[in-house]
């Protein structure tokens, strides 16, 4: 292609050829948008079709069958769904999950906001931010086992401290009333830094002169937080709330390592119950029906949230 390189010594103004020089059929095909595009997306489209699209359709089909993986699947129509409607265990796990979300989200969001404002106002160092992000980079399993050890009734650090200060020992993970809040607390510990970082980024995007103007008008830090930071942070807030609520509904790892759904079903969340039904008891049809129900619930929750928080609008325009 060097022949088309324009020489600077030419006296006439350089002319860019409108029609590219003739190429062989094979080469010219490489310059066509649509043909190239399909080559570019082929691997990802294959992965998407095989591991996302078809499984999604198949999950719906499986949910209409009775299938234990050994005998062929038997079509049973909506029987799994009507059974689900009358299954107290299903409703219990939905309730447990909802409580988990309710413990999790408000605390995580408030702590995240507090940390973000502090990071913005007093400490912006990368070292501090990486320390606060560190728990988020840890595997769920590791975070859970770490706290399982910290909170061990006999040998754990927290209980040893409580004991040496004269308090009684607390069986955080094996007390029916404490197990779920404890697992939520571990999750808050893992996520708070990440949430704070997202809010911090959002706060940095707020123009400084708005704060200046508010300060000149006589607004204190508290007032400018409520009237400037929070409203202008709404897009970030929506993102954080939507993703962390979807994530919390699907809690699994920390339960698999610590309580296994116990004590007395108090941590049997919906995904743990689906896991038990499918991979322990091999009721694939029923488990799929529950997973589809979860999907519908989550879609509904997300749409409601988007509506309430009017995510698409931003005060900054």
């Amino acid at each position: 292609m060097s022949d088309r390189k324009l020489s600077p010594v030419l006296s006439t103004p350089p002319v860019i050829p409108r029609v590219p020089p003739r190429r062989s059929f094979f080469r010219s095909i490489l310059y066509k948008d649509s043909f190239c595009a399909w080559i570019f997306i082929a691997p990802a489209l294959l992965g998407f079709t095989v591991f996302y699209l078809l499984p999604c359709v198949r999950a719906i089909y499986i949910s209409l069958t009775d299938w234990n993986l050994l005998r062929p699947a038997k079509f049973v129509g909506s029987a799994n769904y009507s059974r689900l409607w009358g299954d107290p265990n299903f409703w219990n796990s939905m309730r447990v999950t909802l409580f988990y979300v309710l413990y999790n989200i408000p605390v995580q969001t408030v702590v995240g906001l507090l940390l973000a404002v502090l990071l913005h106002r007093v400490g912006r160092s990368v070292a501090l931010r990486s320390v606060i992000l560190a728990p988020y980079l840890i595997a769920n399993v590791i975070a859970a086992i770490l706290w399982f050890w910290m909170l061990d009734p006999l040998l754990g650090f927290v209980n040893a401290m409580l004991h040496s200060m004269g308090f009684g020992r607390i069986a955080f993970f094996s007390d029916q009333n404490l197990a779920l809040p404890t697992i939520a607390a571990v999750n808050i510990w893992r996520h708070m830094g990440f949430v704070a970082l997202l809010f911090y980024t959002g706060i940095q995007g707020i123009p400084r002169d708005i704060y200046e103007a508010a300060r000149i008008e006589g607004a204190g830090p508290w007032k400018s937080f409520w009237n400037i930071t929070l409203p202008l942070l709404r897009p970030t807030l929506v993102f954080v709330l939507v993703t962390s609520i979807i994530g919390s509904f699907q809690v699994f790892d920390s339960i698999a390592v610590t309580t296994l759904g116990g004590p007395v079903n108090s941590t049997r969340t919906i995904v743990w119950y689906i896991y038990e039904s499918s991979f322990v008891n091999y009721r694939m049809g029923y488990a799929s029906a529950m997973s589809c129900a979860l999907f519908v619930c989550l879609t509904f929750v997300t749409i409601v949230q988007m509506r309430i928080l009017r995510s698409s609008q931003s005060e900054l325009g």
Binding site: R4, I16, L30, D33, S34, C36, A37, F40, I41, P43, A44, F48, V50, F51, L53, C56, R58, I62, L114, L115, L119, R121, V122, G123, L128, R129, S130, V131, L133, A134, P135, L137, A139, N140, V141, I142, I145, L146, M150, G156, W189, L197, Y200, R215, P221, P235, V240, I246, F249, F252, A256, V257, L260, V271, F279, M284, S288, L294, F295, L298
Partner: protein, 300 residues
């Protein structure tokens, strides 16, 4: 004129220092449990009770780290004294490394190709396919895991690396979406110049777009490989055998071994610390890049 600035905010120093105090408290909350894990991993198992509330390891020793890796001297009398759990954590770490490579490299490559097509090429069905990709982020993992498990089982890929990596290896909706956003910001002039020079889309992609977005690719590599390193649920479903199981699955299995009695805490914490080493190294070497990756890959 001058005193006005300070009267607006009473006690600016007090506020600043209490801010520092709260941040320091959160730094301690973040790192404290990790330090306790390190302490336990380095302690002699017999001192777990007596040293439960201490901040420093009792009789510091590398014995726990060595024994979970399988490197302890078999003649060591401590191996016989305690009933330690059985684990080959070295194998698990190697498996995790293999799994991470098998997931991240092809995933980023394939997602980048697709992202470029979505960002710059015209073809039929572009909007529809992109919309489908995006909606896939809404599907809960468990919905897909059941049919995907059956698929992997039918392929005979249970307890193989390819079975564990396959669902993540060709794309994730996040990777495609993230890179598309990045590629959309490529300066048009760069690509158009190359086009006029007669470059094909492939050479534009490899010679201009990819090098231009080195930083975004590094960001995605960090996020993807960390989440692969930490992945639990899917490998737990399809890769439980000792020869392929990854770090998180091995830790879980190790913990469930002693579900009834007292867990082998010093061994468990040794595994935990080893599982954290790559993350610590990453943070120490590329702290700024890691923090910024997570900071800016969020809402857009």
């Amino acid at each position: 004129m001058k005193p006005n600035a300070s009267t607006l905010r009473p006690h600016p120093n007090l506020a600043r220092w209490s801010g520092y105090a709260v941040l320091a408290l959160f730094a301690v909350i973040s790192l404290g449990p990790i330090w306790i894990a390190v302490k336990t991993a380095l302690s002699d198992s017999r001192t777990l009770f007596s040293g439960a509330s201490s901040f420093l390891p009792q009789d510091p020793t590398l014995f726990n780290i060595l024994r979970v890796l399988g490197f302890a001297n078999p003649a060591d009398p401590r191996l016989a004294q305690m009933s330690y759990g059985k684990i080959d954590f070295f194998r698990a770490l190697v498996n995790s490394a293999i799994f991470t490579l098998l997931v991240s490299i092809p995933q980023i490559a394939c997602s980048a190709l697709a992202a470029y097509a979505f960002a710059r090429l015209q073809f039929r069905g572009r909007r529809l396919i992109f919309f489908l990709f995006l909606s896939a982020t809404m599907i809960p993992g468990i919905v897909l895991f059941i049919p995907n498990f059956i698929l992997i089982k039918d392929l005979g890929w249970l307890n193989t690396y390819q079975g564990m990596a396959a669902p993540f290896a060709l794309m994730t909706p996040f990777a495609v979406f993230f890179l598309r956003q990045m590629f959309l910001s490529t300066p048009r002039e760069l690509e158009e110049c190359a086009r006029i020079d007669g470059a094909s889309y492939f050479s534009i992609f490899f010679r201009i777009v990819l090098p231009f977005h080195r930083s975004a690719l590094a960001t995605l590599t960090i996020i993807t490989s960390l989440s692969a390193w930490n992945e639990f649920f899917w490998p737990f479903l399809v890769g439980r055998s000792e020869s392929v199981r990854v770090m998180a699955v091995a830790i879980n299995a190790f913990r469930q071994q002693q579900a009834g009695g007292t867990p082998d805490w010093s061994g468990l914490m040794a595994c935990t610390v080893l599982g954290l080493v790559p993350i610590a190294v990453l943070l120490v070497l590329f702290g700024r890049k890691v923090v910024e990756s997570f900071q800016y890959a969020g809402p857009r």
